[in-house]
């Protein structure tokens, strides 16, 4: 049964890849979404078995060589179970949405095949019981992401965005690979459970380095500093892809990896602190960038980066349940936001720029409300799921009590305020005022809007997954993950203060956004907003730091080594032969008297040689 969860999307993807282009279009979409939904149902059926140590299924042995065995084995423990349900559920909705969104596009079969393969690879990451299989899925999602970002590959910038995403995440993958191989050489096994169980045997330095290597891998996939620059560009892909890969699932793979390896990572305090700092800085960085973006999807991309930063912060604080809670709620509301953004883009006549939108509330009430729900969740409006999950992370940071964690808490609150600010900025610019665009609006299909509804509901109700004790909940998620001890232990009064502070920052962000954006004013972008718009000029910085030196190195290798040295050697050798041949050909000038003369000289030489020998 568990194998079905994994195999169904693979079969769907392969089927669409092989035969899809010969089938009628609705059938392609039907196969793809059907496969993912069947996978969701299979995961539901497996759900009861996921308690405790979880369900362990060994499908077959993949590689066996000496002491090295790589099984294709699945591990369905509470952590994997909840991720599986989330991924298959959200992916199912996005597939249906995509069927409608992509209805007029060419190459639907390729699109759905890749989408299904992506789900397959993502499930491989989630369900793998050893690091090698996980790495396989890890690379699989990377490839599918690359192919889907560049789905409209005829436009050069899309293809470039795909390449950038692939290469930047590969840098992270390199760290993961090194960590994986190192773990194997230390333990002689790649099983996740075995490694976690024996992690305490390692000496602290090795442990810290391995944890940081895993963090490097996670940073690449999850677009954390300093490997974050690919995510905003990845928005060149179709919107369903952005919703599925770059919001709900793939970017959370890094968080999932750290949660999976948490027993190992948590043994190194330093690694945890680094993770927390990376997460917090990314959250802050991305929130400031989101403030100035002009394209709706880029705002959402930066907000994703920022929210994933919160998840990293949660892992760094040692709270897997808080990270997973935020991961789940974020998956719901961010998928909602991206799919809503797809609707909005269609409403505005395929316009991405939020400054050319406005007044869209009147065009579609349902899209407005659903998108607003997503924004409220993102901004952390009270009683939405984003509020509870973010609050849990911040409360965990606060509960640590020492100055380091308190400063993280302060930055977290600041970022929450920024989040609220850019969320409402987006809301006001898109929905408020009058329509500023020129394009005629397009209608949005009913199917697309209906797929948003379940996500909207889970966005509003997702908080109940892990409702804290002090307002009458049972912290079900923490309990389910077997991590009751992670629930921050604060006095009731402190909890209420923290909630009030969170609410206050939310309101403050709203207020500033209201004052600044509720009436649309054309503003010249200042230097600060230009700085934020370009993502703190990180692209230019990396260009200066890495790409230009690399280009120069390449140019040196090409012109210096290849052209000058190697070609030079070969060519000068041939030229020397040519010149010498030219000189030597005068010896054979056809004049018989000269030949005879040289005979005579030769004779003289030989005779004098013999004479000299006779004398000596």
């Amino acid at each position: 049964m568990l194998a079905l969860v994994l195999i169904l999307p693979l079969v769907g993807g392969l089927f669409n890849a092989c035969f899809g282009s010969r089938l009628p279009r609705p059938l392609q979409a039907l196969i793809a979404s059907g496969a993912v939904f069947a996978s969701f149902l299979a995961a539901l059926a497996c759900w009861p078995q996921a308690t405790g140590a979880g369900l362990h299924v060994n499908l077959f042995t993949w590689l066996q060589s000496g002491g090295f065995t790589a099984e294709v084995g699945l591990l369905f423990d509470p952590l994997a179970a909840i991720m599986t349900l989330m991924v298959t559920g959200v992916a199912g909705l996005i597939h249906i949405y995509a069927a409608s969104y992509m209805a007029d596009e060419h190459d639907q079969a390729r699109f759905f095949a890749l989408l299904n393969l992506f789900v397959f690879a993502m499930l491989t990451i989630i369900l793998a019981d050893n690091l090698l299989l996980m790495f396989l899925g890890w690379e699989g999602v990377g490839f599918c992401s690359y192919a889907l970002i560049g789905f409209w590959y005829r436009k050069a910038e899309n293809a470039r965005a795909g390449r950038k995403a692939f290469i930047v995440t590969r840098i992270g993958d390199l760290f993961f690979t090194v960590g994986l191989l190192w773990l194997f050489s230390l333990f002689g096994t790649i099983g996740i459970e075995a490694i976690n169980g024996r992690a305490a045997e390692l000496d602290p330095t090795t442990l810290t380095i391995i944890s940081l290597l895993l963090l490097g891998g996670a940073c690449g996939k999850s677009a954390q500093l300093p490997l974050m620059s690919w995510l905003p560009d990845a928005m060149a892909g179709p919107t369903p892809v952005s919703a599925l890969i770059h919001a709900a699932t793939m970017v959370t793979a890094g968080v999932y990896l750290l949660c999976r390896m948490f027993p190992l990572v948590s043994l190194s305090t330093m690694a945890l602190d680094v993770i927390a700092v990376v997460g917090m800085l990314t959250a802050l960085y991305a929130a400031t960038c989101a403030l100035a973006q002009t394209e709706i999807k880029r705002v959402l991309a930066y907000s994703t980066m920022s929210q994933v930063g919160y998840m990293f912060l949660a892992v760094g604080l040692g709270s897997v349940s808080a990270a997973m809670f935020h991961l789940l709620t974020h998956a719901f509301f961010k998928a909602l936001l991206f799919m809503g953004a797809g609707c909005i883009i269609q409403l505005a006549g395929h316009e991405n720029n939020i400054f050319l939108m406005g007044g869209l509330r009147k065009r579609s009430r349902s899209v407005f409300w659903l998108f607003l729900i997503g924004l409220l969740c993102l901004a952390g409006a009270p009683l939405t799921d984003g509020f509870f999950s973010k609050d849990l992370i911040l409360a965990t940071a606060f509960a640590h009590g020492d100055p380091f964690h308190l400063s993280l808490y302060g930055l977290g609150v600041l970022t929450a305020g920024l989040t609220s600010l850019y969320s409402f900025r987006l809301a006001y610019l898109v929905f408020g005022g009058d329509y500023r665009g020129e394009e005629l609006p397009h209608a949005v299909s009913k199917v697309m809007i209906w797929t948003l509804v379940p996500l909207g509901i889970s966005g509003l109700a997702g908080g109940f997954l892990n409702l804290p004790h002090f307002i009458g909940g049972h912290a079900w998620l923490s309990h389910w993950l077997g991590r009751d001890n992670e629930v921050p232990n604060l006095s009731l009064q402190t909890e209420y203060y923290l909630l009030a502070l969170a609410f206050g920052t939310f309101l403050l962000g709203w207020l500033i956004a209201h004052l600044r954006y509720h009436r649309f004013v054309e503003r010249e972008p200042g230097p600060v907003s230009g700085f934020f718009l370009s993502g703190w000029r990180c692209d230019a910085f990396f260009d200066r730091l890495l790409i230009r030196p690399f280009r120069q190195l390449c140019r040196f290798c090409w012109q210096g080594v290849d052209l000058a040295l190697i070609d030079g050697l070969v060519e000068s050798f041939s030229r020397a032969c040519f010149v010498w041949g030219h000189v030597l050909r005068y010896l054979a000038d056809g004049k018989i008297s000269r030949y005879l003369q040289s005979f005579a000289w030769g004779l003289l030489l030989i005779v004098s040689w013999f004479l000299l020998r006779a004398i000596a």
Partner: protein, 101 residues
Amino acid sequence: MIVPLEHLLILSTTLFFLGLVCVLVRRNLIMILIGVEVMLNAVGLTLVGASSFWQQLDGQIMVIFLMAMTSAEVSISLAMVVYLNRRKQSIDIRSFDEMRG
């Protein structure tokens, strides 16, 4: 031995170099061939002289071979001179310089 070996060697050396100079200096093909003949016979003279000096027959036998070879060589080269004369209407070696690199 009636003539001392030194005299003989001086004679043959003189003959050899006369032949050599003839070969190198003359432009006429036939004169060059004559120079070659003179050189060959100078060598033959040396062989005969040396053979009678050491009282061994080898040198004289070799001279007979040499004569046979020379006659063959002369017949071939004269035939070629005739042929070349037909081609160029000349036996001046300067007109046979097409084989240049």
